[in-house]
């Protein structure tokens, strides 16, 4: 029964993928979209069933299908582990996934390759589910690379545009840098404990008497590099903003709500490893904090509506890693969930706007859309309030917990996280004011066609906005359902259950005031003073540095990409030809010797006799001398 349920869960999206690949074109757009949506919806229903089962029994379900890879001391099964963590992830992957599929039926309707779009989305869900429910690291790795592939396919969905193809390629390759880290981490763990299976590994670590902690830390660090790739942390984050080249539903599903949280999932899954690697935890916290700040500063000045959201995603992921670094896994998971709600809503909202403006993404050409697109406006407003940490919206609770955790461990990192949060509130409301308030700044043509999107687009928005509002209820301070639900996963009991004392209330107040301050500045600048960001060529000074993302892409190009390419040309033009000439040279030497030897064969008997006698003398004298 459990095996069947797990198989239905995984295979339905795969079936959807296959149907759309082989028959999608002939089925027509609406049918192919419906098939894709239903496939994911079925997985969602199965996830609900599993959730129900797990909350009632409290026990995880293990399913082993068959032996996969046999390595001398490692036996790797193709197996699934459905426990609290994986089922929680399944719920929002398939739940939000269904909504975004539904949304895409309308959003992608004008695209001639709509069936392909749905097949890739289904394939993505298949791999994402595999990633989440794998019972060992290698099954996770199937999903891990699989979602990377789908991300590649979907970023480059409009493949006539080589810039988009570049972005897709960049995403894949940067992820692979992380993947090498993940592989090495697996190798170390495999050789230390002879297993990659989570459950066995947990027991092995708990039972080990003489743990080689430095080696285990190295493994944890390598795994974290993998997480950096997938979850877009410094130094491997630059692919995510470029990934916005993909259609907006893709940005919502893959590059905001689900795939990019895989790194957080993996670290949480292996909490028992990271708990022992305290140095690595500090690294994670610091990287997370810095990423959240750096990305937030870049987000301050971006004018492309999706770019703002992309940097915001990087920044929010950084906050989640900040929590992970302190071992506060449940806090990170909480923020993953609320973030999935409000960020998916924001991306889908921005998609609705872009759709309404026929592809316009530059906020300088927007404005005043509030009246024409009320549902989009209100849902995005709610989500912006949530991400800004305005009280009682979901993001308020989760972000507050992260900052609270940080405060208890490290004041500097708390400050960094708080500043990033204030900036978040600012750039989100900058986005809101520029997009929805004041006068419309686009063309007359666009103005004429302004309209609210259809119900397939607005319904997912409304549902997500509701979730973004009330999602915080799953983990209220002092009374957290989520913490209790996840408790069986963690060896350390959540450490500090924050008692709501004066400090906590003060911090909460500070955070709220910070958020409101950010909103206020945005209000003054973009509503009161009616500023519109400058045209590209007029941006100067610090803004220019930020606008150009600190020139990190340029630096990477100069330091890594260009040298490898020059080296390639050098090898091709010099080393290869040189080696080739060397081999030919050996042949030429042989030729030359033969040529010289030929000259000895003159045909003169006298010379032959002379040499013969000479040789005889040499042999005789050698024999005499040797005696």
């Amino acid at each position: 029964m459990d095996t069947n349920l797990a198989l239905i869960l995984v295979l339905t999206p795969l079936l959807g993928f296959l149907v759309n690949v082989f028959f999608g074109k002939s089925l027509g757009k609406t049918v192919s979209g419906a098939i894709g949506t239903i496939a994911v919806a079925i997985s969602f229903v199965v996830s609900l069933l599993l959730f129900n089962q797990i909350t009632s029994t409290g026990k995880g379900i293990e399913v082993t299908l068959f032996d996969w890879i046999q390595i001398s001391n490692l036996k790797i099964n193709l197996g699934f582990l459905l426990d609290q963590l994986s089922v929680l992830w399944l719920l929002f992957v398939t739940g939000i996934g269904s909504l975004i599929h539904l949304y895409s039926i309308s959003y992608m309707h004008d695209d001639e390759n709509m069936h392909k779009f749905f097949s890739y989305l289904n394939l993505f869900v298949f791999f994402m589910i595999t990633l989440v429910i794998g019972s060992n690291l290698l099954v996770l790795f199937i999903g891990w690379e699989g979602v990377g592939l789908c991300s590649y396919l979907l970023i480059g969905f409009w493949h006539k545009n080589q810039d988009y193809n570049d972005a897709a390629k960049k995403a894949f390759i940067m992820n692979r840098i992380g993947d090498l880290g993940l592989l090495i981490g697996m190798f170390i763990i495999g050789s230390m404990f002879s297993t990659l299976d989570y459950a066995t590994l947990k027991t092995a670590i708990a039972g080990a008497s003489n743990l080689n902690l430095p080696l285990l830390s190295l493994a944890a660090l390598c795994l974290f590099i993998g997480a950096c790739g997938k979850s877009a942390q410094i130094p491997l984050y630059t692919w995510l903003p470029d990934a916005m080249a993909g259609p907006t539903p893709v940005s919502a599903l893959i590059h905001a709500a689900t795939m990019v949280t895989a790194g957080i999932f993996m670290v949480t899954r292996l909490n028992f490893v990271f708990d022992l690697a305290t140095d690595v935890q500090s690294v994670i916290a610091i990287i997370g904090a810095i990423t959240s700040l750096v990305a937030a500063t870049i987000g301050l000045v971006q004018n492309d509506i999706k770019k703002v959201l992309a940097y915001s995603t990087v920044s929010q992921l950084g906050l989640m890693f900040l929590a992970l670094g302190f071992g506060a896994y449940e806090v990170a998971v909480f923020h993953v969930i609320t973030h999935a709600f409000f960020k998916a809503c924001l991306f889908l909202g921005s998609g609705s706007v872009i759709h309404g403006l026929h592809g316009e993404q530059d906020m300088r050409n927007m404005g005043g859309l509030r009246k024409a697109m009320p549902i989009t406006f209100w849902t995005m407003l709610i989500s912006s309030l949530a991400i800004s940490g305005v009280p009682f919206f979901s993001g308020f609770f989760s972000k507050d917990e992260i900052l609270l955790t940080a405060f208890h461990h490290s004041i500097p990192l708390y400050v960094v996280g708080s500043v990033a949060s204030i900036m978040t509130a600012f750039y989100m409301f900058r986005l809101m004011f520029l997009t929805f308030f004041k006068e419309f700044r686009g063309t007359e043509e666009q103005k004429h066609h302004l309209h609210e999107s259809g119900s397939l687009i607005t319904i997912p928005l409304i549902i997500l906005a509701i979730l973004a509002t009330f999602g915080g209820l799953i983990s209220l301070p002092g009374n957290s359902w989520l913490n209790e639900y996840l408790a069986p996963l963690f060896t350390k009991v959540a450490g500090e259950e924050h008692h709501l004392g004066t400090t906590e209330y003060t911090l909460m107040g500070v955070a709220v005031l910070g958020g409101l301050l950010g909103i206020l500045i945005a209000y003054v600048k973009y509503f009161k003073q009616d500023n519109v960001p400058e045209a590209d060529e007029n941006i100067t000074g610090l803004s220019k540095v930020l606008y150009n993302k600190y020139y990190v892409d340029e630096v990477y190009d100069a330091v890594f990409v260009a040298p490898v390419n020059s080296l390639s040309k050098f090898f091709r033009d010099y080393i290869e030809t040189g080696l080739s000439a060397l081999v030919f040279g050996l042949g030429k030497i042989a030729n030359e010797i033969a040529f010289q030897g030929k000259k000895l064969q003159t045909g003169s008997i006298g010379l032959y006799l002379f040499v013969f006698v000479l040789g005889l003398c040499a042999i005789v004298s050698y024999i005499f001398l040797a005696q």
């Binding site: 032996d67 894949f172 592989l183 170390i188 290869e576």
Partner: protein, 479 residues
């Protein structure tokens, strides 16, 4: 039935093809190659059932040379690889016209015959004869039916011929020396020899020269890219899909067990050489202008990793190497076929002259992309299983070997996706690109099916090769 049956089928097939005339040649060749495949499956079945399918007949008495064919799991795996790829290669050529087709297809079968013999021979001299025999057909195939400027082609092919022949002579010398010691060429007698470390080193190096040129391992690879480019695609497939595995296979079968002390003493150097090939090949591949040359360098990178795995002298390393040999055999044949499919339509392999094919040919694009992904070892393809196992074994020797060898997953993705982007993506090409025909599709689908099936379920192959690899390791570790 014993393993000589398959050799007989292939040899008769070669002649039958030649005498069937130009019109029928391709079909007759396909038929015989399929018969050989069927035969090898039956043999595999019998072998699994415990039947003795080896042959040993005395052949020449002075010096003692026997007609000895020994099929164990490793040998059978390689025979199966040859038997499975040959019909695919023949079938993939159905879209092309060849002058003097009877000779062309006859030579293909003759080459399959010689390569199969190489994988089965259990007598050093017999093995050497098969080894050299395999060189002759590919020499003519590349020389006569190749492409590009005739004079340049002749230069490249002759260089290849002499280079590999010269390398093999060192191997022959080693075998003669071994004969003076063992008074036999039989592999089991050679395994039993008790050679000094110094002798082993020389023998190891003599073998190495032959294999390093054939595989090829840098810096002995200079013949490769040019020959791959100039040979007709069928020849390139035979070379890269099967023939280079002769070298890798021989490392496991002959070099390591006969000279284990040298192998142990210097393994780090040879692993390093293999890994240097991975990095060097990948970097050179990045900036190739010709699609076939790019694939040649990618092949150089992949076999470097296989060689590195072999020289770890661990079960994982050997097993990963063999699996990767098989996986690479299939994927590289598929990729060269993709290059051929493009050439049939656009008559160029110049990467910069391509692009914008995807919009015109969804089926071809999907198949090509799957092969590209298999080549970069995406999990769920067989290539991942092999590469993961090899890298894992390297990490046990030295974690740095795994890290440096592991750069293949980054660099490989870089050059392959870059190639794919420039060849397939972008604005629709002004020239029309017809999507794959049924015949072309079949070849792709078979290859892809094999790669995906064993990607999820490699157990049959693991079970087949493990006992023989354990035997080899036992010989290596006898002291």
């Amino acid at each position: 039935m014993n393993v000589s049956t398959i050799l007989i089928i292939l040899l008769i097939g070669a002649f039958a093809t030649y005498f069937s005339g130009d019109k029928l040649a391709s079909k007759v060749a396909l038929l015989f190659s399929l018969a050989a495949l069927g035969c090898s499956i039956v043999l595999l079945n019998n072998y699994s059932a415990g039947e003795n399918i080896s042959v040993i007949n005395s052949w020449i008495t002075q010096p003692k040379i026997s007609f000895a064919l020994n099929a164990d799991g490793l040998g059978l795996a390689m025979v199966l690889l040859t038997a499975a790829l040959t019909p695919i290669i023949i079938f993939s050529s159905f879209g092309n016209e060849y002058k003097n087709a009877k000779a062309f297809y006859g030579l293909i079968l003759f080459m399959a015959f010689a390569m199969t013999g190489t994988f089965l021979a259990a007598d050093g001299l017999l093995y050497y004869i098969f080894w050299e025999l395999a060189l002759i057909p590919i020499y003519f195939i590349a020389l006569i039916w190749g492409n590009g400027d005739a004079e340049e082609r002749r230069k490249a092919v002759v260089k290849f011929f002499i280079y590999t022949l010269a390398g093999s002579l060192f191997m022959l010398t080693a075998f003669i020396y071994l004969y003076t010691k063992a008074d036999s060429f039989l592999i089991e007698d050679l395994y039993k020899l008790d050679l000094s470390a110094c002798e082993q080193l020389w023998i190891f190096l003599a073998f190495f020269l032959a294999y390093a040129i054939k595989i090829p391992i840098i810096p002995f690879h200079t013949w490769q890219a040019n020959v791959y480019q100039k040979a007709p695609t069928v020849g390139t497939m035979l070379l890269s899909g099967i023939m280079l595995k002769m070298g890798l296979y021989s490392v496991l079968r002959w070099q390591l067990p006969i000279a284990p002390l040298a192998a142990k003493e210097y393994m780090n150097i040879f692993i390093a050489l293999g890994i240097a090939g991975v990095i060097y090949g990948s970097i050179v591949a990045l900036r190739q202008k010709d699609l076939k040359k790019l694939l040649a360098y990618s092949s150089l990178a992949h076999v470097g990793l296989i060689a590195a795995g072999s020289y770890t002298l661990t079960l994982d390393g050997l097993r990963g190497a063999v699996m990767q040999m098989i996986a690479h055999g299939f994927v590289v044949v598929g990729l060269f076929f993709a290059a051929e499919v493009i050439f049939r339509r656009f008559e160029t392999r110049e990467i910069d002259a391509l692009g914008g094919i995807r919009t015109q040919s969804p089926k071809f694009t999907s198949m090509f992309l799957i092969l590209v992904l298999a080549s970069v070892a995406l999990p769920s393809t067989f290539n991942f299983v092999g590469e993961f196992t090899v890298l894992y074994s390297l990490s046990h020797v030295n974690i740095w070997f795994a890290i440096l060898g592991g750069t293949t997953i980054i660099l490989g993705a870089y050059y392959m996706l870059r190639m794919f982007q420039h060849v397939m993506l972008g604005e629709t090409n002004s020239k029309t690109f017809a999507d794959v025909s049924l015949n072309e599709g079949i070849s792709f689908v078979v290859i892809i099916a094999v790669l995906l099936f064993f990607g999820f379920y490699p157990k049959p192959i693991t079970d087949l090769i493990t006992p023989s690899l354990e035997n080899i390791l036992q010989v290596i570790n006898k002291n």
